[in-house]
Amino acid sequence: MNCMNCGALLTDMDYCPGCGCDVMVQKKACYLANLYYNQGLEKASIRDLSGAISCLRRSLTFNKYHIQARNLLGLVYFETGEVVSALSEWVISKNLQPSGNLAEEYIKILQANPNKLDSISESIRKYNHALAYCREGHEDMAMIQLKKVLSQNPKLIKGYHLLALLQIREKSYNKARRILKKAARIDKTNTTTLRFLREIDEQTGVSTNLEKRGWNESDEEEKAGRTYTSGNDVVIQPPAFGESSVVTGVMTFFLGIFLGAIALWFLIVPVKTQQIHQEANDQVQEYSDAITSKEAELESLRAQVRSAETAAQEEETLRESAQTTLQSYDQLLVAYQLFVAPKPDSTEEEEAARNTVVAALAQVNRDVLTENAKGIYDAIKAGQNITDDELLTASGATPASEEQTPDGEEDLSGEEDTGEETGEEDWE
């Protein structure tokens, strides 16, 4: 250390050996600068970047020539995304100590990658645009811009803060919490991060856990052994270890297999069984649907068969009716031919012709004839003096006169055949 007055090398004494100036305050200042540098280094190593910045700036307040503190301050600024501040510290450091300075290396690394520097510069410009959008009331545009900024420069703490503030404004507390957690991973003790997180905790009623989840930390502690102080002594507790032997290994192996089998039985088998049942149920359902559709088809075909049978019966009935009509006309023609033929000479022949006419007319169904044919039928019947009983006898049916009751009551059905009776009476 040199005297601030004359530049002479200082000794352990509180006075300068060159000029006799009181250097106790200077020494105290240098001592404090070193102290704050050490504290800053310690905080930077545990990612307490805000605390580190505070300590390193104090260190430089006491001694601006503390190159290590200045270089570390630049590094911490760079880590928080404050590239210009970092570059400023390194450039000043390089000017204060041109040779053997780590700041020169930092500047060279940064200058060697111009794309990275351009990207950082662009992200800073975008952040400033986003801030302007916020002030103009275009919060949605600002959010889009900030997301781009953070994807481009994920170390920019201020970007996280501004985005979190916008999310808090929109009451998206969980999103804001996630953003602030990312910020807290870069800088653990940033006051803005912690203040916003406390606000989110108050609003949601859920406290934010900033500790990393995982078992590695405790495992590492166990492996490394625990260290604690007892008075002035530092006690290092050796890590606990398990006794390993062949028997233990084999037992562990079989225990593992057993536990695996149990897990298989209780976790995988029920799932497989359920899957098989599900497939069987699906198949049954499929077959059931197929049977239902087939039954519907069968019922439809049966209905078609019934319809066809009905149509066939109607056709048969019509055919029979037509046959009866044809036969009736045939027999009527036969009877008419005999009726209009010249009278035979002998009585026997005449009687035979009459019988033939009766037989023919008996085969005629009068109901199926037309009105003209009915007239011919009635004329023949009247001309030959043929009674209904004769016709019935000839057709093989029981005559109406024979169906009379013993009391002498006539069957009313016989009286309904009007015309024949009248003709018979006329003939008599």
Partner: protein, 51 residues
Amino acid sequence: MIDYEEELRKFEPIQDVADAEGAIYNREMTDVLDLLKEMMKEKRSKNIRRK
């Protein structure tokens, strides 16, 4: 409760890389030792005046 407008006012634009030169020149470089030197100078000048 966070006041959005008030919080927004606290945010300042980040200096661009192009403005790094200006930032360096405007940096306050006074430390405690500079103040001590200043105080010693003042003390000396006062002593000279008294003499």
